[in-house]
């Protein structure tokens, strides 16, 4: 059996008297995409940089591909791709394509650099000096640099920070392709939609501790009530709807003509509701399904907003 892609147990790290990570544990299986989700200052970068071998843990166990990030660095480097948070972190006087080719030369079986540049949308900036790239372009180059050596595990620290919505979506597609091709991925983000969209599993961190972990669906549905709202003629008789609804779901008309169904939201519930409307000859307008989002989960767990 292969060791896990990443295994962190009880990780502790302080900067002077300031604790950054306080007993954090997580596990990433091979081929899995884990999102480390948390607000700024939660300890995501610290955790990831310890996994990358840049920093030494105060205590706790860290294994990456079954190896020690510092003692076995030589063996790990070629197998792990890294995207740092603070930008490209590479020769700013080099041209984009030169830099990618340089990183390709470190690997025995690199990706085709022209193809990869085109894939991250930098084909038109190939001859541009790295220092003249925009923030989002630098991020995309940084991603290409992490991937060019065909690693089996990549750490992406806030991969879409500074990207416009279009580039962000394209980057999501690329990250999905990585996962499809069997690359293990650890990414950090403070964007909930990013975690919800991409991750097999999400570890929510706050103040250096794990406050929740699970699949996006588990996190948003565990004990989670959602609600369906719609508008229709005032004063509909709801008893027959209530009978049709599953146990625990509740229908009401909080304001005249505005209806609310609260309960565990799933496709059956929605089907039951619309079937009832059809039987009554009622056209439900402005029907909206509101499931609990990771945002709500985070707010509940920490009492704080993710985005500050």
């Amino acid at each position: 059996m292969d060791a896990a892609a990443v295994q962190v147990d009880n990780l502790v790290k302080s900067y002077g008297a300031h604790p950054a990570v306080r007993g954090l544990s997580l596990r990433v299986e091979r081929g899995e995409l884990l999102a480390l989700l948390g607000p700024n200052g939660a300890g995501k970068t610290t955790t990831i940089e310890i996994c990358e071998g840049f920093r030494r843990a105060d205590s706790g166990q860290v294994r990456v591909l079954g190896l020690d990030p510092i003692a076995d660095a030589r063996a790990l480097r070629p197998r792990v791709g890294v995207m740092l948070q603070e930008g490209v972190g590479a020769y700013t006087g080099a041209r984009t394509s030169e830099l990618l080719r340089l990183f390709a030369s470190y690997a025995a079986n690199p990706l085709d650099t022209d193809e990869l540049l085109a894939r991250v949308g930098l084909q038109d900036s190939a001859r541009q000096q790295v220092r003249r790239l925009s923030g989002g372009q630098k991020q995309r180059l940084s991603l290409a640099l992490a991937l060019v050596g065909r690693p089996e595990l990549v750490f992406l620290d806030e991969p879409t920070a500074g990207m416009d919505p279009h580039a962000r979506r394209a980057t999501w597609d690329l990250i999905r392709e990585l996962r499809r091709d069997g690359v293990s991925v650890v990414l950090t983000t403070h964007h909930l939609d990013e975690a919800e969209q991409l991750a097999d599993r999400v570890t929510v961190v706050d103040s250096g501790q794990v406050v929740a972990a699970g699949t996006p669906a588990e996190l948003t549905s565990s004990g989670a009530e959602g609600q369906i709202r719609f508008r229709a003629a005032a004063g509909l008789r709801l008893d027959s709807l209530q009978v049709a609804l599953p146990v625990g779901a509740q229908a009401s008309e909080p304001q005249r003509g505005q209806y609310l169904v609260v309960g565990e939201i799933n496709p059956q519930l929605l089907a039951t509701l619309t079937a009832w409307c059809a039987a009554q000859g009622v056209l439900a307008e402005q029907l909206s399904v509101e499931r609990r989002s990771l945002e709500d989960v985070f707010l509940e767990l920490t009492g704080r907003q993710l985005r500050t």
């Binding site: 490209v88 080099a94 030369s105 690997a107 065909r150 091709d181």
Partner: protein, 253 residues
């Protein structure tokens, strides 16, 4: 065809990495205007001006004194000042950190930097000597000894440059490397012969690495000496202190 990311991780050969890295280092050196000015243009300008009888008078052919000085200056500019400033800013901008996360071993990175500096010195030496011939230079002495002196000077100065770059902030490195360049130029036996200084001062200054290299090069190229023992030993000592110190205290971030 769509790209496939199916993992196939493996480091390439040391030789390939070293070649690619050295090429990149050299390319960046020549693309950087300040580096080109410091290592190529200023030495040639000084070669021209020191050859004019402005600051002091000399016995014998002036250019025969000037060329060894300028060669010493070129080594100091490339191996100390240029290397220190370049490396200092690479450290500041997390280049070294980022490279630390690749399959490129640190030893290969350091070798590439060394080879790039040596390549630069070859070009410097060619330009300086060609210009000197135009100015009427008559070299004496054994070229092998000259290469030995310059190589030892490169190691000593390179070690000092990396020590400064690896321990101080990039801005401090920039100031310190430029200041030391000036100090060593005028008080380290390059621009002004040390025997123009009072005897006691001369006795101290001759142990500076620039003075040792400059003195050794003068003995060989100007006076045709065989093996300038004292300068060679001085340079070996500087190298023996600077390199281990740089290895010991160099911080990559």
């Amino acid at each position: 065809m769509t790209t496939t990311y199916v993992p196939a991780p493996a480091a390439s050969s040391t030789g390939r990495m070293l070649a690619a890295q050295t090429r990149m280092e050299l390319r960046l050196l020549f693309r950087n205007g300040e580096q080109v000015g410091l290592t190529l243009i200023i030495p040639l300008l000084l070669e021209f001006f020191f050859n004019l009888p402005l600051l002091y008078s000399l016995n014998g052919r002036r250019i025969d004194f000037v060329v060894p000085s300028i060669l010493a200056l070129a080594v100091m500019s490339a191996a100390f000042t240029g290397l220190a400033i370049g490396t200092g800013f690479e450290r500041k901008y997390a280049v070294l950190k980022r490279l630390g996360a690749t399959a490129l071993p640190r030893s290969v990175l350091l070798w590439a930097k060394t080879l790039a500096v040596l390549g630069l010195e070859v070009i410097q030496t060619l330009l300086i000597c060609l210009f000197a011939v135009v100015l009427g230079w008559h070299p004496h002495g054994d070229p092998v000894t000259v290469v030995l002196l310059m190589a030892l000077g490169t190691i000593a100065f390179g070690g000092l440059g990396l020590l400064v770059a690896g321990t101080l902030r990039a801005e401090v490195t920039l100031a310190a490397a430029n200041l030391l360049w000036l100090v060593l130029l005028f008080c380290g036996g390059i621009a002004i012969p040390l025997d123009k200084y009072p005897h006691g001062v001369h006795q101290v200054l001759q142990f500076l690495p620039s003075a040792a290299m400059s003195d050794g090069l003068h003995r060989v190229l100007q006076h045709g000496a065989q093996l300038p023992v004292a300068p060679l030993i001085t340079l070996v000592l500087w190298a023996a202190v600077a390199l281990p110190a740089a290895t010991r205290w160099f911080r990559w971030e």
